[in-house]
Amino acid sequence: MNSTLLADKSEASLKRFLSTLSPVDQVGATSRVEALATRSIKTSSKNWAIDLAIRMVDLTTLEGADTPEKVRALCAKGVYPDPTDLTVPSVGAICVYNDMVKIARTALDAGGGKDIPVAAVATAFPSGRASIEVKIQDTKDAIANGASEIDMVIDRGAFLSGKLGLVFEQIEIIKGLCGDNAHLKVILETGELVTLDNVRRASYLAMLAGADFIKTSTGKVAPAATAPVVYVMLEAVRDFYKMTGTKIGVKPAGGIRTTKDAIKQLVLVNEVAGPEWLDPSLFRIGASALLNDLLMQRMKMRDGHYASPNYVTLD
């Protein structure tokens, strides 16, 4: 079924469709993710999960204080996360602010990372509070500079006040700009949506409007990628696939700092959305510090002991 048959873009139609979604029971969802968090991932499966997680990392820097040098260093690290061990795979993408896109693209191309996409946060990140004209220009700039992934934020104010048509329309416009040149990730900022029911509705709204990925958060609002939120989003992509035949990706971002956290995310993906989502084309982890912990754990699995943090590079 084509997703346009589920709802058209009118306010009433969207509202009607979202009201047909099954409610989420917060207590039940939380206890399910707690149970899945007890999965014990050891030996060969841990090695496998660590390498997969590295390939899924959207290595990110989103600071006002970012410098071209820092972005270039991040790109070098993204291509060869551990320069002493070339069996370590490259990361999924480099995620930066708009003005750093060109610098990142150039650095990746020059450093052996032609296949690594640059993701740009756009549409008045992180708050989404700007006119649609500004959001359009923001997106156009990013794509023109070489971004092949756009991480846009939704207008949470509009969503929470019930202006579903507005949220839908803005996603649709940005999707139109992305066309075939860029993948669109839609950031729901679940920390501001608060309830899991809202997370489920916003996920469907974004998917109907054309998102290629749904992403939890900007990283600027706490709580960010909590396990119950990711759980509900994984259920949404699983069920949307069943309804429409289209697979949408999921990107948790913010708060995933350790290998243990990342492996818990992969267990969720495996047991909720299904093994076919265990691929960087359908699951990414927005993170910065996580990569070093994955590298440290990888060394530990290889050498049998922990190395000093001095053996992994700063970004």
Binding site: V24, G28, R32, R39, T43, S45
Partner: protein, 480 residues
């Protein structure tokens, strides 16, 4: 490796030191049975013998009851409640400290997954001791008058499905209220009770307050019929419960009985479907379905049956069946060959009576006692699998159209232990709960236990309550 296969993650069996032979725990000491008879207990996951267990006969039961009587009259009933409470607190702390040991031993002896013993059975057992420790010096607030009195010697017989947890449900309230105990664990799962005997020694519990006699149904019968017993507490099958009720009729003995069930899990069409699926899975596959309060009858509103069953089957396909000691195992071994035979017999009756069987593809281990997760659809109220307690991982699915029909079907059972209600509408949940004749009703969850919450059944599911303030009533005589 192209898929996320979880590598084996076994808990270490070396955490626990199993002796080759165990005696009876009478008057604070392990003693050999008078007649010297023994039986073996095995690991149901691989049929290996774990230990030789003493078989208690009448002479041994006599000694145990006498020890309990002496402890009651000379020590325990005279001790201030606050002092009794200290022993209970001490036991609770030791259980927590040795929880890993208990979890491993329970899994080896029972066959249930280590995830469950580690996260549910043992923590809840300790919680029961903590909870009742707090009651020991506050019994005048238990609702049994200002100065309630213990019965005396409690004969307690527990089942094999939650050996340590049922021990805690029995022993903790009995000791808190000033009774002394002779406990008989199930024939197939005596080991954690015997380890608990060591805990009693470690806690310095006065000799004779807790006595543990191991054996079979005959041992239990000697205990129930013993004239020195004041109170009988039994958890197990309805058949044995009825026999106990007959045996004590006309005596001064009082009884609490926790018996069988055929719990209805009612899913309305406005339910949170994904969580309902989780609740259904936990309701019937927790502890391999060997749970008296299992949600073994799924009553689903007919307009969501297809959607729910599709999600349910997908979820059941994810259940990891196998080595109970593996930390990723969801469904372990059936406790005994006898139980497995019973499950097979009843499930086969579902095929014969025309219900449709479904199980996921799963490879069962070659030794040990195993049954795959199974659901039957197209079940009618008159099928045996809708009426009799299977006590295994077998779910019977029925549908209903109106709330009234759901209630009628749910209540149409000789049992009345548990029920579940799934709906997003508070008023519908309350309406349904009021009409259901079941002792424990969960709304939008299932199999949640807390020592403060009373547990027990209507109709043939039992007499009395265990846990909470209501549970104390079974161990106290009011002064008015």
């Amino acid at each position: 490796m192209n898929t996320f296969e979880y590598a084996p993650a076994p808990e270490s069996a070396a955490l626990v030191d199993i002796k080759s032979q165990y005696g009876l725990f009478i008057n604070g000491k392990f003693v050999a049975p008078k007649a010297g008879k023994t039986f073996t207990t095995i690991n149901p996951a691989n049929e290996e013998v774990l230990a030789k267990i003493a078989y208690a006969e009448l002479a041994d039961v006599n000694l145990a009851v006498t020890a309990a009587r002496n402890a009651f009259t000379k020590t325990w009933s005279k001790m201030p409640g606050a002092e009794r409470g200290k022993y209970l607190f001490r036991i609770a702390r030791i259980l927590q400290e040795r929880s890993r040991e208990f979890a491993v031993l329970e899994t080896l002896d029972n066959g249930k997954p280590i995830r469950e013993t580690r996260d549910t059975d043992i923590p809840l057992a300790a919680a029961h001791f903590f909870y009742h420790a707090g009651w020991a010096d506050k019994l005048s607030y238990a609702g049994q008058g200002d100065n309630p009195k213990p019965y005396g010697v409690a004969a307690q017989i527990i089942p094999w499905n939650f050996p340590m947890l049922m021990l805690a449900w029995k022993i903790a309230p009995a000791l808190a209220t000033g009774n002394t105990v002779v406990l008989k664990p199930a024939e197939t799962t005596p080991l954690t009770a015997l380890l608990f005997a060591e805990v009693c020694q470690q806690a310095g519990l006065p000799a004779g307050v807790v006595n543990i006699v191991t054996g079979d149904g005959a041992t239990g019968s000697h205990l129930v019929n013993h004239p020195g017993v004041d109170k009988v507490a039994f958890t197990g099958s309805t058949g044995v419960g009825k026999a106990i009720a007959k045996a004590i009729a006309g005596t001064k003995k009082s009884a609490t009985l926790e018996l069988g069930g055929k719990g209805a899990n009612i899913v309305y069409d406005d339910a949170p479907i994904d969580e309902a699926v989780e609740g259904i899975v936990s309701g019937i596959f927790f502890n391999q379905g060997q749970v008296c309060c299992a949600g073994s009858r799924l009553l689903v509103q007919e307009n969501i049956e297809d959607e729910l069953l599709e999600k349910l089957k997908k979820r059941i396909s994810l259940i990891r069946v196998g080595n109970p000691m593996d930390k990723n195992t969801d469904l372990g071994a059936i406790n005994s060959s006898a139980q497995l035979a019973r499950i097979k017999e009843l499930a086969d009756s579902g095929d014969i009576e025309g219900a449709q069987r479904w199980s996921p593809n799963c490879v069962l281990p070659s030794s040990g006692f195993w049954y795959p997760p199974t659901i039957f659809t197209g079940v009618s109220q008159s099928h045996r699998i809708a009426r009799e307690e299977i006590f295994g991982p077998v779910l019977s699915v029925l549908t209903f159209r109106t709330p009234g029909e759901a209630i009628e079907k749910a209540n149409n059972s000789p049992y009345g232990l548990s029920a579940g209600i799934w709906s997003d509408k508070g008023s519908r949940i309350l309406w349904t709960a009021k009409k259901l004749r079941a002792g424990v009703i969960w709304a939008n969850t299932f199999n949640k236990f807390d020592p403060a919450s009373p547990f027990g059944g209507y109709k043939e599911s039992g007499w009395g309550r265990e846990g909470g303030r209501h549970g104390l009533a079974g161990y106290l005589k009011g002064d008015n």
